[in-house]
């Protein structure tokens, strides 16, 4: 009985914890602390980025004056573009009269004239002294280099022997274009 009590009084030797287990334990603790720290750090960063993103979005959508300026410049650019194109295609139909003055036979009289500047077509009613003059007029037009598809019609003779005629032809756009 006494022997048994003696044995209990003597402290038991502490069990030694293996250094590897110890190392692993503290590693696990440090790891979990790092992970929690990272979590809060990321959450903080996300909050900051969301705030910054909102501010940038606001900056991107509100331009006011600049947008007005942008619109104005685009309209002006359009106008310049349209104007330059219109100017390059602008027709000076009155130049056709210069052409007529240059290539009209002195003995030919014109009574009526139709000019269609859109399709570059002209029709002329006139009178000449004789058929020879009419032939010369046709030749002058043909040799001018500005006349195509020349057609003559409604040829008539009046009591005084004068020859009435109608000429229609396509003329070169060079005549009425700048």
């Amino acid at each position: 009985m006494i022997k048994e009590k003696l044995i209990e009084i003597i402290p038991k030797a502490k069990k030694e914890i293996s250094p590897i287990v110890n190392y692993l334990f503290w590693s696990a603790v440090v790891l979990i602390i790092i992970l929690i720290g990272l979590f809060f750090f990321l959450q903080n960063q996300i909050f900051a980025l969301e705030k910054k993103g909102g501010e940038l979005e606001k900056k991107l959508t509100t331009h006011g004056e600049q947008e007005k300026l942008d619109k104005e410049i685009k309209i002006t650019a359009d106008k310049i573009d349209i104007f330059s194109k219109l100017l390059s295609e602008h027709k000076i139909t009155s130049n056709f009269f210069e052409f007529l003055k240059t290539y009209c036979h002195p003995k030919v009289q014109f009574f009526s004239l139709d000019i269609d500047a859109k399709i570059f077509k002209a029709s002329i009613n006139g009178k000449t002294d004789d058929f020879q003059t009419l032939g010369e007029q046709i030749l002058i037009f043909k040799e001018s280099g500005f006349v195509n598809d020349l057609q003559i019609s409604n040829i008539s003779l009046d009591r005084k022997g004068k020859v009435g005629f109608e000429l229609s032809f396509m003329f070169s756009e060079k005549i009425i274009k700048k």
């Binding site: 334990f25 979990i32 004239l113 500047a117």
Partner: protein
Amino acid sequence: MNRILIITILFFVSFLFFIYFLFPQSIVFEGLKKNVLEKESLIQKEKIYFSNLEKISENLKEHKDVLEKIDAAVPSQLSIASLFNFFQKKALENGVFLKTVNIGKTTSEEEIVFKKTKQTFIFLGLSANFFSFENFLKEIERSSRMIEVEKITLNTSTENFLEFDLLVKVYSLDY
């Protein structure tokens, strides 16, 4: 033995924490970072664009007179009354009798370059001698307004007096 169990639990919890909290959080973070960088780059580009616009605007202000001429040639709002007045004035100046003025149809150009351009056709009935008419024609064609003569019909009424019908086209912008 107890410690080994705690270690196992700690690692397992760490693993779960990483999978269910940290990893999704990092994906959200990366996405937001990318988004902010894109927006910053956009703002930078816009800044350059608007700075260029301001330079262009300043440049345009230096050529205000040219722009005014373009506005006069191809106005944004076509005033028919002012146009008729213009024809009447030019006719009077050149000794041409303006008998009739009629407005024709207004059409939009089909060509893409001219998609915002409107054409208005005007018929003019005139009476004059040839030289007066020729001067009138030259003046309207060379005026600051963009006027194109589409058709001319000439008929002799008396020796010195001729009848003219003109179909003219004027442009305006649809802004």
